[in-house]
C-alpha cells in the first residue's frame, strides 16, 4: 500500500531563508495527522509543498505515490482564513461549487446535476445548506470557515489538508468541527496544521511538532520533549490550559 503522503529529507527555502530542514514524514490512509508549531515555524510551507505549490530545495515529496502536481486533483485544501477577499461578489454556493472545477472542461464550463447534488450534500453535512444563496460578505466568521472547508470537500478528495482551520471558529462550534473532521477520517487522510495546541484533542491519530524541524512521536500523543524542542521555551507556558491527556508526563518540571 502506498502512503497518502511521504516526505523524505525535504528542505525548503523561502526568499533564500531555509524554513524547513530535513523533514521526513508519512501520512497513511485514514489517518488524522496533526502538526502543531509556533507561527513562522514553516507549517504553511509544509502544506504548500504537499500541494506542489512550492518545490523543495532538496528531498522528495510524494503524494499517493506520484508527484504532488500529478495527483493534485485528489487533494482537498483548506487555506488560511486571512488569504481570502471576503468582499468578492460570490455566493456561498458558487464558491463551494468551484471546488468541482478540477475535473471539468476549462471553457463553456457547466455544472452538472451530480456537481449540485454533491455540493448540496456537503453543505448539509456542514450545516450551511440554508445559507447557500447568501453572499460571502454576509456570512459570519464560522460560516465562512465552513464554506472554505465545504469547497475542499466537494471534490471528494482522498487527502484533506487544513491550514489553521479553527482560527475563526468559536469554542462550541470547535467541538462540532472536530467531530466532522473525525468522521471524514473514515473516507480520507486528514493533515491539519495549527499553532494552537489546545485544539489537538483526542481525534488526532498522530501528532508532530514543527519548528523548522519536525519532532515526532510514534504514539498519538504530544510529549514534553517534542514541545520543548519545537517551541524552544518552557513547556509549562504553552501547556497551560491544555487538557491533561494531551501531555504524557506532567509531573516533571522543565528547567
Amino acid at each position: 500500500m502506498t502512503d497518502a503522503i511521504a516526505l523524505e529529507h525535504v528542505y525548503a527555502e523561502i526568499a533564500g531563508q531555509i524554513v524547513l530542514e530535513d523533514i521526513s514524514l508519512d501520512v497513511h490512509e485514514r489517518e488524522f495527522y496533526a502538526i502543531i508549531g509556533p507561527n513562522g515555524g514553516g507549517k504553511t510551507t509544509l502544506i504548500k509543498l504537499m500541494l506542489g505549490l512550492i518545490q523543495p530545495k532538496s528531498g522528495a515529496v510524494k503524494v499517493l505515490g506520484g508527484t504532488p502536481g500529478e495527483n493534485r486533483r485528489k487533494l482537498g485544501y483548506v487555506p488560511q482564513f486571512h488569504t481570502f477577499d471576503f468582499h468578492y461578489p460570490i455566493t456561498l454556493q458558487e464558491m463551494v461549487l468551484s471546488g468541482r472545477l478540477g475535473n471539468k472542461a476549462r471553457i463553456f464550463t457547466r455544472y452538472t446535476k451530480e456537481d449540485r447534488r454533491i455540493t448540496e450534500e456537503v453543505l448539509l453535512t456542514l450545516g450551511i445548506a440554508d445559507l447557500s444563496e447568501r453572499v460571502l460578505s454576509a456570512l459570519s466568521g464560522g460560516e465562512r470557515q465552513r464554506a472554505i472547508i465545504a469547497r475542499a470537500l466537494v471534490s471528494e478528495p482522498l487527502i484533506l489538508l487544513l491550514d489553521e482551520p479553527t482560527v475563526y471558529v468559536d469554542a462550541p462550534a470547535e467541538q462540532q468541527f472536530y467531530a466532522i473532521l473525525n468522521s471524514l477520517k473514515e473516507k480520507m487522510a486528514v493533515v491539519l496544521v495549527t499553532h494552537d495546541i489546545g485544539v489537538v484533542s483526542d481525534y488526532a491519530t498522530k501528532v508532530a511538532c514543527l519548528n523548522r524541524r519536525l519532532y515526532t512521536h510514534d504514539s498519538g500523543e504530544i510529549t514534553e520533549e517534542m514541545l520543548t524542542s519545537a517551541y524552544q521555551c518552557p513547556v509549562e507556558l504553552i501547556a497551560h490550559g491544555v487538557p491533561h491527556r494531551v501531555l504524557r508526563k506532567h509531573d516533571q518540571d522543565v528547567p
Binding site: R73, T83, P89, E94, S98, L101, R134, V135, G141
Partner: protein, 279 residues
C-alpha cells in the same frame, strides 16, 4: 429638438459607440474592480500613448500602435505580478510614465502637426468614425465570447488564485488572457473618453454596481446598464452644453458613484447589513 439631432449620423454613431463601450467596460471593468487591477489598467492606458506616438511617427494608424503597446504592457506587468507581487506597484508607476514619455518623444520627432492628438488624450465620442465603430464592434463581440466561454474559470482565478492552482487550472494563461482583454478594452475606450480618463469609465460603473450585487454576473449586467446611462447622458449633455464629451461622461459617472456611496453610508447607519456585525 431631440428628434432633430438623432437625424445626424455622427450623433447616432456616438450613441452606438457609447453602447459598445458600455458593454465591454461593464464586463471587463467588473473584473478590474473585483481583482483590484485598477492601477494596472491605468498603467496600460497610459502605456498606450507610446503606441499612439509610434503610430504617428511611423505613419500607421495610431490605434494599431495603441493596441500593440497596451497588450505588451499588460502582459509584461501580468507576468511580473505572477512572479513577484511586491514590485508591481513600482512597476506600474514606471510603465505609466515610460509610455507617456515614448509617446511625447515620437510625436515631437514627427514632422508637422499631429491632427487627432487631443482626441486621443481626452476622447471625443462625437467624432468617432464608422471604421472605428466596426473595430469596436468586433472587439466587443470577441470580449463577450471569451468571457462567456471562460466565465467559471475567470471566477475561480479572480476569487482565489491559489485554489485555482490546486484545481489544476492554468492560472498563468488565464490571468494573461484576462489582462489581454483589459488591454483591448482600454484601447476601445480611448476613442470615447481618452487615455487620461479611461480608468474612470472602466471602474466607476463597476464600482457603482458592486454596492448592489452579490454575484459577478449581476454586477456585470448592472455595470453595462450604468455605463449606457452614463455615456448616453454624457453625449446629450455635452452636445447641448457644447462642452467636451469625455469629461462630461466621467463627471456624470463620478456624480453617480458619489450618490451611491452617500446612500450606502446612510443605509448602513439605519439598517446594518446582515452579517456585518459578526466576526
Amino acid at each position: 429638438m431631440m428628434i432633430s439631432i438623432m437625424a445626424f449620423e455622427f450623433f447616432r454613431n456616438a450613441l452606438l459607440a457609447g453602447l459598445l463601450a458600455s458593454i465591454t467596460c461593464g464586463i471587463i471593468g467588473t473584473y478590474v474592480v473585483v481583482k483590484k487591477m485598477v492601477a494596472l489598467s491605468g498603467g496600460v492606458s497610459h502605456a498606450a500613448f507610446g503606441g499612439i506616438g509610434l503610430g504617428y511617427f511611423a505613419g500607421i494608424d495610431p490605434i494599431l500602435g495603441a493596441i500593440g503597446f497596451s497588450l505588451a504592457s499588460a502582459l509584461g506587468m501580468g507576468m511580473i505580478s505572477l512572479r513577484a507581487k511586491q514590485h508591481l506597484d513600482t512597476l506600474i508607476g514606471a510603465i505609466w510614465a515610460i509610455g507617456m514619455a515614448i509617446g511625447i518623444l515620437f510625436i515631437s520627432l514627427t514632422p508637422g502637426y499631429a491632427p487627432d492628438l487631443f482626441s486621443f488624450l481626452f476622447g471625443n465620442i462625437l467624432l468617432v468614425p464608422v471604421s472605428d465603430l466596426l473595430i469596436m464592434a468586433v472587439l466587443a463581440a470577441m470580449i463577450l465570447l471569451v468571457v462567456i466561454a471562460c466565465y467559471q474559470v475567470f471566477l475561480a482565478v479572480t476569487f482565489d488564485e491559489e485554489y485555482a492552482m490546486v484545481l489544476d487550472i492554468p492560472v498563468e494563461v488565464i490571468t494573461l488572457l484576462l489582462l489581454s482583454l483589459v488591454a483591448l478594452t482600454v484601447v476601445m475606450l480611448i476613442r470615447i473618453v481618452g487615455i487620461i480618463l479611461v480608468i474612470a469609465l472602466l471602474t466607476l460603473p463597476a464600482a457603482i454596481s458592486r454596492e448592489y450585487c452579490s454575484r459577478l454576473k449581476n454586477m456585470m449586467v448592472l455595470s453595462v446598464i450604468t455605463g449606457i446611462l452614463v455615456t448616453t447622458g454624457g453625449i446629450f449633455l455635452s452636445y447641448f452644453l457644447n462642452v467636451p464629451s469625455g469629461a462630461t461622461i466621467i463627471l456624470i459617472a463620478a456624480g453617480m458613484y458619489g450618490l451611491v456611496l452617500i446612500e450606502r453610508a446612510l443605509r448602513k447607519r439605519h439598517h446594518p447589513a446582515p452579517g456585518a456585525g459578526n466576526t
